[in-house]
């Protein structure tokens, strides 16, 4: 039995009196204590999926199971699930203490028990002593922590987070990513996390479900998704990849830019797309007898630790990350190891 399971979830919204299908049959299972991320571009249906799990929307079709029970008709206040809302949704007329204490007050805990737990939870999010502060006087990062504290104090089995770090600056975001991940591990709570930031997803998640246009395209671990993207959309969304169209006449032999390459994949079809990560291409001065291509360096940018270079072969421009730099206008050879080539079936929609 799965901890949380979404079965064939469909959701239709009426937009200008026209029915539009926003979720097109979502199937998803989530294990206890797992950090699952819904990753996808804006408008792909991540928030809607999360809201169906939280009980704020009902699915047009399909079922949601929680510990094997269908919770499709359970209202949000009866679900052992708490949410950290986009833009926090703190109660502006209450101070920090009353915001965090809200859930326990509703559950009629004793005053002293509430005081204890609020103190503990505030120290958990590093905001001890902020009790009396008005939430409006807090910075974005602090409000974020209060929103997390307000949810965590209820000791939920599942915490839903909708782009919780979206409004924070880069440095704070990185710090909060680590803190959130640690919290999730230490508290043993299942996190369902929504983001459109692939780096955030890759660094935090146990499992990633990549969404686009109301569908889950691929689900797997970070390594899984990064190393073996199922199609060109995922590859380009996950990282700055090189994606090139080629042909395949037999297994483990792919042709692009009029050159034959050895690869590890069996033949999926005759027209294919090949993904090569920028860090998997080696730039060399001399050609090799296989998997090597000639090109001209047309751009070199220094990025602190390494260089990003653009190399032109025919009319295709390769993106390459390397610690060594080359001169603009220089002719070089690109070596791509057999494992560096990921061959995918041609995506029809792209």
């Amino acid at each position: 039995m799965e901890f949380i399971e979404l079965k064939n979830i469909e959701k239709n919204f009426y937009v200008n009196k026209q029915e539009r299908q926003i979720l097109k049959g979502i199937n998803l299972s989530i294990k206890e204590n797992e950090f699952l991320t819904l990753l996808g571009p804006s408008g792909s249906g991540k928030t809607t999926t999360l809201r169906i799990i939280g009980g704020f929307e009902t699915a047009s079709k399909g079922q949601v199971f929680f510990n094997g029970l269908d919770i499709g008709k359970t209202p949000p206040h009866k679900r052992a699930i708490n949410t950290v809302f986009q833009n926090y949704a703190l109660f502006p007329h209450m101070n920090v203490y009353d915001n965090v204490a809200y859930g326990l007050k509703i559950k009629k805990f004793s005053k002293s028990a509430i005081k204890d737990r609020v103190e503990k939870t505030l120290s958990l999010v590093n905001l001890s002593g902020f009790d009396k502060r008005s939430v409006k006087s807090l910075s974005g990062g602090q409000q974020q922590r209060i929103a997390i504290a307000r949810a965590l104090i209820n000791e939920p089995k599942v915490l839903l987070l909708d782009e919780p770090l979206g409004a924070l600056d880069l440095k704070l975001r990185k710090e909060m990513q680590i803190e959130l991940k640690n919290m999730q591990k230490n508290l043993g709570i299942t996190f369902i996390y929504v983001t459109h930031d692939q780096e955030e997803a890759l660094t935090m998640s146990d499992q990633i479900a990549v969404m686009n246009d109301g569908e889950i395209l691929q689900k797997g671990t970070s390594e899984n998704i990064y190393n073996e993207p199922k199609n060109a959309f995922i590859a380009s969304f996950i990282g700055t990849s090189n994606i090139i169209t080629g042909t395949m006449e037999r297994d483990r032999k792919v042709t692009f830019l009029k050159t034959d390459f050895e690869c590890v994949d069996p033949m999926p079809g005759s027209v294919v797309q090949i993904v090569v990560r920028p860090e998997d291409i080696e730039i060399e001065q001399t050609p090799r007898d296989r998997n090597s291509l000639k090109g001209e360096v047309i751009e070199v940018i220094f990025f602190g630790v390494n260089y990003e270079m653009k190399v032109k072969t025919g009319d295709f421009i390769w993106k390459i990350h390397s610690t060594k730099s080359y001169e603009r206008g220089q002719f070089v050879y690109l070596f791509m190891a057999t494992e560096a080539l990921h061959v995918m079936e041609m995506e029809r929609s792209l």
Partner: protein, 267 residues
Amino acid sequence: MKLTKWLSLSYLILMISFLYAPIVILIIFSFNDQEFGTIWNGFTLRWYQAVFNDRQVADAVRNTLSIGIIAATTASIMGTLAAIGINNMRKGTKKVVLSLSSLPVATPDIVIGVSLMILYVAFFRLVGAGSFGFGTLLVSHIAFSIPYVILAVLPRFKNMNPFIYEAALDLGAVPFKAFFTAIVPQLMPGIVTGFLLAFTMSIDDFMVSFFTTGSGVSNLSLLIFSMTRRGVNPMVNALSTIMFLSVLILLFIINLRDSQKLKSRGE
């Protein structure tokens, strides 16, 4: 002095004197120690004494206050509910309903008064019972007060995070509780302003009351009107002064609240 400056100054003086001179004179004469005169004859408080010892005035004050409080309270509740409903409407419907419900603010009081009177007459005929009096007066005051509450409450939604209600549900509150702990406190400043406006409008009203009361039920403005018909009496001046000052104080409080709100928003 330049001509334009001179002109604008004299305009200002003229305007202020037209607006306020009658009121100032009324206030002065409420302290005048002479029954019929328009000549100053010394300071007295006897008209105020007479006002406070008059049975009719006491009744009218009681009616005015009870109608003001009941009407403002009822209008606050109904107006707030209406504002919530309007806020949740779709854009097109919202505009129409909002204009419809704020129309009475711009409608002449006499039109509201006469139409309510006709409505009551029709209603009494239909039911075959009922008469003008305290009840009709109260219902009328509730009716014309509701738009003021709606207009005071609606702007509160603009700065409200739409997910706050859901956040309360998420934390375990039943919908009723979520509404009262998460939404109402945020509307409260608007509701209080609406209440004060409604109360002021109710105290202030003559025209609608005139057409919708009956069976000898009078509020202060109706009483003053009937007193002036029996001849000018300095008691009227005293009573009018009291009314003028109470409404002035109420309006002052409302404005103070508004400017404080603006200040706290500016922070």
